[in-house]
């Protein structure tokens, strides 16, 4: 193993350790592996995108329809903190995204959904509290 190879390997491996254990912030692909490590919260609280079609039907879009980062709590927090212009831009991006998949989407509504994770009826949450955050057409 040459000296430069040793230096390269030490640098990359060191970054894996320092970011992995959370000593340095994420520098993808060097990332902290602490996801799902804190105790889960009692309630789930996130942004849901509702597509309203030309015929008035409503389709709820969840994680698998949009990039994962969209619907997580962090995104909801950022959306709530954002100014009106930023909110309008975000809403327009979601509308474009949904229209690119389904031309019948007329407008979108953004809702905050909140429910107690362990309060269940059958396989779903017993009660979901919905708050309208905005919308765009």
């Amino acid at each position: 193993m040459d000296r430069w190879q040793r230096t390269w390997v030490a640098a990359v491996t060191g970054l894996v350790a320092l970011t992995g254990f959370g000593i340095l912030p994420d520098l993808w692909p060097f990332v902290s592996w602490g996801m799902f490590s804190s105790p889960a919260r009692d309630v789930s609280d996130y942004l849901v995108v509702v597509a309203v079609h030309e015929d008035g039907t409503r389709t709820v879009h969840r994680d698998e329809r949009l990039p994962g980062g969209y619907l997580r709590e962090g995104y909801l927090h950022r959306f709530e903190q954002a100014g009106q212009d930023q909110r309008r831009r975000e809403c327009a991006r979601m509308l474009d995204d949904l229209r690119s998949r389904d031309a019948t989407v007329e407008h979108v509504e953004l809702e905050r959904w909140r429910w107690d994770l362990l309060d269940r009826v059958g396989t779903g949450p017993a009660e979901v509290e919905r708050t309208r955050l905005g919308g765009c057409a």
Binding site: V31, S44, D96
Partner: protein, 311 residues
């Protein structure tokens, strides 16, 4: 002085345990073919135009992608995607040694970064694979069972040594990286979650928080979440696996068991929670498995012994 002498006495043992002692080329070949083959297959599963369009639509780059002033054009993403496939195949076949692998890094980082780090949040699905491609770029992986080896043979050059430390260190380094990834995940659970992470209700909440967002939640996930004993067992199993991965550095013979645990963990979390880490599940076991022992069982003759070539 005695401490330094003691450290020197321990150094060969530690080096051997960590896998840096001379080793046959089998592990190095398996790592090369497996890692770069998996990268090529992963890239083939992507639609580059969809990757480009999604990134442009939701452009909010993180980490190294912030170096880009704007989302890359679709043609650029398609070119990087094609380069990733071609160079990963060439690297798997051992063509032009470190040059091919170094050339693969920029397009791979771009394509994987667009998938995992371009939308305001970070996904971890490709991180380990990209790190392995980075750290192994300068490693001698193409000396045996490769197009480079065939070229040397045709040129009348002597065959390289079959057993040497040069073939051992890439596998040892890859093993340390894999251990660091899983160990840091386990330590984070102890650090941030503590004993509370092992309580069934904590695992149930994590599971429901994923499943409730799915249009068709996994029946396996619901079954685990509805049974506190299963939820507690799953949480304990994950923590034990992640903390015990480090054992392969002390007892390399545990490698197949740990590798099996890693694959079971990723397949299980995919089926139960929809967490798709199949690329990582394919790549992480590679440096942990006893490839030479398995090759010996096949009764293949060893290649002739010779000097160590560069690259």
């Amino acid at each position: 002085v005695s401490t330094a002498t003691g450290a020197r006495a321990w150094a060969p043992l530690v080096s051997e345990r960590l896998g840096f002692a001379p080793a046959p080329a089998t592990g190095m070949v398996a790592l090369r073919v497996g890692l770069y083959g998996a990268i090529a297959i992963w890239a083939l599963t992507l639609s580059p135009t969809e990757v480009a369009e999604t990134a442009a639509l939701h452009w909010e780059p993180r980490s190294v992608l912030r170096l880009l002033p704007a989302p890359p054009p679709t043609a650029g993403v398609v070119a990087a995607w094609a380069a990733t496939i071609v160079l990963a195949c060439a690297a798997a076949l051992g063509w032009r040694g470190p040059l091919t692998r170094a050339a693969l890094v920029p397009p791979l980082v771009l394509v994987a970064g667009l998938v995992d780090a371009s939308f305001g949040s970070l996904s971890h699905r490709t991180a380990l694979t990209v790190v392995l491609a980075l750290v192994l770029a300068p490693a001698p992986l193409a000396a045996h069972w490769s197009l480079d080896a065939r070229r040397r043979r045709r040129a009348g050059e002597p065959a390289p040594a079959w057993r040497t430390a040069a073939w051992a260190w890439p596998v040892a380094v890859a093993r340390i990286v894999v251990v660091l990834v899983y160990l840091s995940a386990g330590v984070a659970k102890l650090r941030f979650g503590g004993v509370g992470w092992l309580r069934p209700e904590s695992f149930q909440r994590w599971t429901y928080s994923r499943l409730d967002r799915m249009e068709e939640p996994s029946q396996l996930g619901l079954w685990i979440a509805e049974n506190p004993a299963l939820a507690a067992a799953a949480a304990a199993g994950i923590l034990v696996l992640q903390l015990s991965v480090v054992s392969v550095l002390v007892w390399p013979r545990l490698g197949p068991w740990v590798a099996g645990g890693i694959v079971a963990f990723h397949v299980g979390s995919w089926l139960a929670l929809g967490l798709q880490f199949l690329l990582q599940a394919a790549v992480a076991p590679l440096p942990l498995l006893p490839w030479e022992r398995w090759r010996g069982r096949l009764g293949r003759p060893r290649p002739p012994v010779g000097p160590v070539p560069p690259g």
